[in-house]
């Protein structure tokens, strides 16, 4: 398993060379600056000048007048920047932007400090003070981006953010950066600008990235980064209050994605499931429940549902992760061999890897498609042909633990579980683990009643209705045994 993982990570890193590489390298490097003498003073003068111009023009209710005044001011400022020699080289422009960012950040810190020293101060006014400078600066960046494409250097700004964090540590304030990114995103997102500048916005409010398909891989990478960050904390289930809030926020983002961009979650489900710890059932269910919007899913509780009659069941889902490249050749060989021959059983002997193995199968139980169907049959076949009850118990556990959490539940997961408890061929109710605890038994019964109705459920659970019901579900069980061999 560890080999697979490290291979996979190496592959992911290579595959996302382009903008994602920029995104990460920008964060990882930071260097000291030695500015030419007097540059800081010049930048300070120009920034202050600009902030005043920006707000004097935006005052007044007459927007058309303000606009023409504004254009004039941009020209005025550019002239001043020329006079001060700021626009001479890319290096100077970069330094200018860096110094401006530093100054805006400084102002924000001073405002926050003021708030702390004087709790009576109006917090709304304090914020307005920060916004006052930051918004002006953002508009300046946006306007200069429009005038010359090279003017903004994202890497420099990200470096700065990182440096600030290293120096201030727990005193770090995210407000100035947060606002700069979001406002810049809004500015550059205005229709007259070109879409290529999205990259500057980074991950902050990057749901915008999803509005165009080229943004999908980058957004997927941002989500993977978030999941990777959360993973060690979620895995241990020792969540501090801040982590709980971050987790809740993650759930919300996923809910939005599930509702508005289900195809995105469908396409990248593999990569996401790979970084989400196995115990995060609900997080993963949200991803696995996504299905293409044009699809109608039959109610899994429909009596007599013939899954193999669905036309979608022959269509393969789209997977945008190259997962076969993940497996070392020998592992793949062993796996193929095991799937063909069901031996050697040592392949499954390690309890931990078997849990991961069954989870990997369950991760494919999604909307009606050929993978869902195949892995549903595989899971049921593994249950039917298991040589120890421990395997059957673990299969039940993997399915059940994904169903006892709150909705949503993936369609294929429900279908598989219902088949398991409904089809007498699996002799589900004869197993000891079903009756291991009264609350577990009750749970199974309520699921059975939910999907079969009181009377039929009673018959199946008591094993009396086997012969009468068998015919009804014959189509599914015959297909499950044929695809397994």
């Amino acid at each position: 398993m560890e080999v697979v993982r490290s291979n996979y990570e190496a592959m992911i890193d290579r595959a996302h060379g382009g903008p994602n590489f920029m995104m990460h390298s920008g964060i990882s490097q930071a260097s000291e600056y030695d500015d030419p003498p007097g540059l800081r003073e010049k930048a300070e003068y120009l920034l202050r000048e600009w902030v005043n111009l920006y707000h004097s023009a935006a005052a007044g209710r007459d927007s058309t007048k303000a606009f023409s005044a504004f254009v004039g001011q941009v020209e005025l400022l550019e002239r001043k920047m020329h006079q001060q020699g700021i626009l001479k080289t890319d290096d100077l422009i970069t330094r200018f932007f860096r110094l401006c960012t530093e100054m805006c950040v400084e102002i924000s810190y001073r405002a926050q400090a003021e708030q702390q020293h004087n709790p009576a101060a109006n917090p709304t006014m304090i914020r307005a003070k920060c916004y006052h400078n930051l918004d002006a600066f953002v508009r300046l960046i946006a306007l200069l981006v429009k005038h010359s494409g090279e003017a903004t250097n994202t890497v420099t700004k990200i470096n700065l953010l990182n440096k600030d964090h290293d120096v201030r540590q727990s005193e770090f304030q995210q407000l100035p950066y947060h606002r700069i990114f979001i406002m810049l995103l809004l500015e550059l997102n205005a229709p007259e600008h070109n879409a290529g500048t999205y990259a500057t916005a980074e991950g902050v409010a990057a749901v915008y990235l999803l509005q165009m398909k080229p943004g999908w891989p980058m957004y997927a990478q941002l989500l993977i980064d978030l999941f990777k960050y959360l993973a060690p904390f979620l895995r241990n289930v020792e969540l501090t209050k801040p982590m709980q809030i971050l987790y809740k926020g993650t759930l919300r983002v996923l809910l939005v994605l599930l509702h508005d961009f289900p195809e995105f979650l469908c396409d990248y489900h593999y990569g996401f499931c790979d970084v989400i710890p196995p115990n995060c059932i609900q997080l993963r269910n949200l991803i696995l429940s996504a299905f293409p919007r044009n699809m109608r899913l039959p109610d899994p509780f429909t009596p007599n549902l013939k899954v193999d009659m669905l036309s979608e069941i022959n269509i393969a889902p789209r997977i945008l992760t190259n997962f076969t490249g993940v497996m070392p050749p020998q592992f793949k060989k062993d796996l193929d061999s095991y799937l063909k021959t069901r031996s050697p059983v040592t392949f499954l002997s390690d309890l931990r890897s078997r849990y991961l193995f069954l989870n990997a199968i369950a991760n494919q139980l999604r909307y009606p498609n050929s993978h869902t169907h195949y892995f549903s049959c595989t899971m049921l076949y593994l249950f039917a042909e298991a040589n120890t009850e421990a395997i059957q118990e673990q299969i039940t556990r993997v399915l059940l633990e994904r169903l006892i959490v709150n909705r949503p539940h993936p369609w294929g997961l429900l279908i598989t579980f219902i088949e398991l408890i409904k089809n007498p061929a699996f002799k589900f109710w004869n197993h000891e683990f079903v009756h291991c605890a009264p609350e577990i038994e009750k749970l199974f019964q309520s699921v059975a009643q939910c999907c079969m109705g009181q009377k039929q459920a009673q018959q199946v659970m008591e094993g009396t209705g086997a012969s009468t019901i068998k015919g009804e579900f014959g189509s599914f069980s015959s297909s499950s045994s044929s695809s397994g061999s």
């Binding site: 914020r127 916004y131 060690p232 241990n236 289930v237 801040p242």
Partner: protein, 156 residues
């Protein structure tokens, strides 16, 4: 249990991340951090009792809803929620109620009677207008509404 793979103790780096997260938690982003400045009605979150409405009624972001509001409410939205969707909807509702915006005076006018004169450049007559400084409706007789000051963008 809830931890099927067994607990793993956090690395030094992860403990550091947790500590930084904890520090950042004390000053989480404010809703207004990611919005344009609201000059007159800044966001001011405070605990409200659960038996009060925590959310506005559904469909209150449609023109139909705005048309049910009083004109004074619409003027309030127009002047105090500048540059928002609410302002746009209020303007739309006002236009539907035959109010016209004067771009020089920055005020809304409604014909009190049929204009005495109508030319290609202007119309003249008695109008009701809303004075945002005195905050009330006023009547103006013999007013010349020059069409070049008529805000006539077609709000979609």
């Amino acid at each position: 249990g809830v931890c099927p793979l067994g607990p793993v103790s956090l690395t030094k780096e992860q403990l550091y991340q947790q500590a930084m997260e904890e520090a950042a938690w004390h000053h989480m982003p404010h809703p207004s951090d990611s919005e344009r400045i609201r000059q007159y009605l800044p966001r001011n979150p405070c605990p409200t009792p659960p038996y009060h409405h925590q959310m506005p009624p559904p469909h209150s972001d449609t023109v139909e809803f705005y048309q049910r509001l009083s004109t004074e409410t619409l003027f309030f939205i127009f002047y105090y929620l500048e540059g928002t969707k609410a302002q746009y909807l209020a303007a739309k509702a006002l236009k539907k109620q035959s109010w016209r915006f004067h771009t020089k005076y920055m005020m809304w006018f409604q014909r009190h009677e049929e204009p005495k004169t109508i030319t290609d450049e202007f119309e003249q007559g008695t109008y009701i207008y809303f004075d945002y400084e005195k905050w009330g409706q006023r009547k103006k007789e013999g007013f010349t509404f020059e069409y070049r000051y008529l805000e006539d963008r077609d709000l979609q």
